[in-house]
Subunit: 470 residues, 2 copies
């Protein structure tokens, strides 16, 4: 796997033996410098080749995180927080060396405050684990990026996913945090109140900061009552435009759909093969409706009418829980299903998000760009938010092919940015989108981000080399 | 009016004649140093005595704002952005001298993008003006703090109000900004995409920063389809607890009420007198429901059942638009109605917000504290969010009375903070809550806010002396 990884030897600040000794004193056998462990922590689901950290520590609590960060700070050595490794843009690669702090063993659900519709968790708790813990409360945590990501990682990347059209992203659903700062201090941001006007919104500053400002050690999230009724449906279209117009009109009418997902014919073909489904292999929308029995019926009727007017065919219902989960499991494994279009390939994945009125232009434009690719491609995404992903399946050993697909990727991103959209709706910037972020945000905004980073992490030890060059 | 205003002569940085000359060159007759104009711009709706700026300029566009800030920056003189003057915590007082930039003439609705459910406005556009401009689009802007505040001011204070329980606050509803930085540069934050994971959330950093990081010169906000059906209702209770439990159970059940407002008997008495209503003068809830005809009926039925189980009486409907607006106008003028409880008085107003499970304890506790006051008091608020306001009507010429009421205010705030709540749900910190913010956020978080402020405004010219002491 030799997708070009932006590593600069000049910037490397490897962990010196003295630091490793200090960390061994703190973590004992939970410090590892074994190659396999370092390799595992130096990669994510991005197409980049692994860049292993110099050491990995497995933290058990916030005090340990604070001690590890303080030790790294004394040696001015980079710190990379690690959850489950499901990030997609190279966020976890140790491009300047340093120490990976694995938070997966900090996986306690600290409290479930059902009456307040909040839960407080350690960063290693995954979204499925949290929802399992909530089972008997009648509540659920809606943010669902597909992967069983850690809540800490989802906080760091400002994750969203299929439910965001109704429930918002991590931006809207994190109430407060405990954070270990770059100097190894523990601070709290926010409270458990649903809203606040109390000073700078430090919570929102950390949400989406991809580990570059501190390590999140506790997260308080909003919960929602499980809907009284749920139903899901699929509908297929002969044209991309018919599907997109259906989504746009649904949003503009204010129908509170819980999920509204787009899959092109290639994606449907891939999930049919991978998940043993028999969906008609053309452009397809997946919907889910949440609410009371009456409201779900009303929403479904409204969407069905809109779909029919836009050429929707084969409206199919999944009302039984097992059919629904089969459908959504298929959607959630679409990334892995897509990878099977070309065994051995890695995916370059776009993540643009545009204003809803530009969705058709953006999606049809992206399709035209992808049609020039010599590799298998597919489009799928959370179109109710204007967010979709193009997958380009590249041979990791073919630098020319990778370069060509990155050029197409760049065209798709520039198209979205020109429409007043963003290069990343939910995956974050990491290494992969640093150039795109500069184009999107402009020098002034990047300078402001840099100033904040320098103020909070003067020695640039927190996940350096990500989001922007300092 | 001599409520003690925290002015330190040592920190004053008055505008020198050279700066006034420069500003006169830029603004001509739109620069004023007249006493009346300065007095008007040195106060807000807080109980503090006015502290006038040295000069006021009326800006017509972002370039003029940038030029004014750049001039002030060269002279290291404070800049105070001014909207309509409706802030409640002393945000507008020129405690260190300087120049007030009045943005009320920057009142163009730049664009209404109905298909995208967004609008872009200049900061002087008020919420009513925006909603008037939206009238024919079938859309509306929901954030409604009562006062006809400017959208710029609402952004700066992270305003919310009666609709926040359903639609969120300015935190959730600002998509992007144009900002003039402390050095007089224009930058953009965010895009018009509904969600983004593109770098630090500068938009959310400016929302709620109360003019201390820059001047907001353009705001893109989210809009919502006008609900197909709307209805409002009032219900009264013999006990505070019955009313609060009704709200708590409504939220916990997930009934998507659009408004759920609490008024104690004193508040009802005040608005009956002020708005010529004849509501029963006991604890009362106001509700509003938005949705389809069927969903509004369903929500209303659910709330009516919950209210009845909690001792609710006199459930009264306001389905005709004129009855509804009469009701909500009465709610919106409750602050002014309350002031009439004691002619000539000024209000000290609390703004605590607590997790919903603590609402009854917090409200009943606040009532017990208020019962010790020797002045008229009332409680009202957005209890669906856990947010309510206590009004203490003080004689502005009686320092002992003011001091005593501030002590009661402090007790109410500490009670909320001890419940993992916040000292300010929606009014912001300004001058009035600086001490409370320190108690709530802790030294570590305040140090982080200070570091950000120093990084973005090294000479501390942007609305200095507010939120925290630098």
């Amino acid at each position: 796997m030799n997708h070009p990884t932006p590593v600069s030897e000049a910037l490397r600040r490897p962990a010196p033996a003295a630091l490793i000794d200090e960390l061994r004193d703190l973590f004992g056998e939970r410090l590892s410098t074994a190659t396999a462990v370092r390799e595992h922590h130096g990669r994510d689901e991005s197409p980049f080749a692994a860049v292993p950290p110099d050491a990995v520590v497995h933290a058990h609590d916030a005090d340990e995180v604070a001690a590890a960060v303080a030790a790294c700070a004394r040696h001015r050595v980079p710190v990379i927080p690690y959850g489950v490794g499901s990030s997609l843009e190279g966020q976890l690669l140790a491009v300047q060396g340093g120490v990976s702090i694995d938070l997966s063993q900090m996986n306690r659900v600290v409290s479930i405050d059902a009456e307040d519709l909040t839960a407080t968790v350690e960063p290693g708790v995954t979204r499925k684990q949290l929802n399992d813990a909530l089972k008997d409360t009648g509540l659920f945590f809606p943010i669902d990026p597909g992967a069983d990501a850690s809540i800490g990682g989802m906080t760091a990347t400002r994750a969203s996913g299929t439910n965001a059209v109704r429930y918002g992203s991590m931006r809207e659903n994190v109430l407060g945090l405990e954070v270990v700062t770059a100097s190894g201090e523990r601070i709290r941001t926010g409270t458990r109140a649903r809203k606040s006007a109390a000073g700078y919104d430090l919570t929102r500053l950390f949400v989406g900061s991809e580990g570059t400002l501190g390590v999140v050690t506790e997260i308080t999230v909003r919960l929602y009552p499980q809907p009284e009724a749920l139903s899901a449906a699929t509908v297929s279209f002969r044209s991309v435009k018919g599907a997109v117009d259906t989504v746009i009109q649904t949003i503009q009418l204010g129908v509170p759909v819980a999920r509204s997902e787009f899959l092109d014919a290639a994606s449907v073909r891939a999930i049919n093969a991978y998940s043993k489904l028999s969906l008609r292999e053309q452009t397809t929308l997946f919907f889910e409706f949440h609410g009371s029995e009456a409201s779900v019926a009303e929403q479904a009727r409204a969407v069905q009418d809109i779909a029919r007017e836009n050429g929707g065919e084969d409206f199919e219902w999944a009302t039984r829980p097992e059919d629904r989960s089969r459908l959504w499991n298929a959607r959630h494994t679409a990334y892995f299903a897509g990878l099977q279009m070309r065994p051995g390939a890695r995916a370059i994945t776009t993540d643009t998000c545009v204003p809803i009125s530009r969705l058709a232009d953006s999606l049809i434009g992206a399709r035209a760009i992808l049609d020039r690719a010599k590799v298998p491609t597919a489009i799928l995404g959370h179109v109710g938010d204007g967010n979709f992903h193009c997958m380009l399946l590249v041979d990791p050993d073919d630098p020319d092919e990778i370069a060509e697909c990155e050029r197409l990727n760049a065209e798709i991103v520039r198209l979205a940015v020109a429409m007043d959209g963003t290069c990343t709706g939910e995956h974050g910037v990491g290494l992969h989108k640093m150039g795109f972020l500069r184009e999107e945000a402009g020098d002034g905004a990047i300078a402001m981000m840099r100033a904040i980073k320098r103020a909070l992490d003067p020695d640039d030890i927190m996940n350096p080399g990500k989001i922007f060059a300092l």
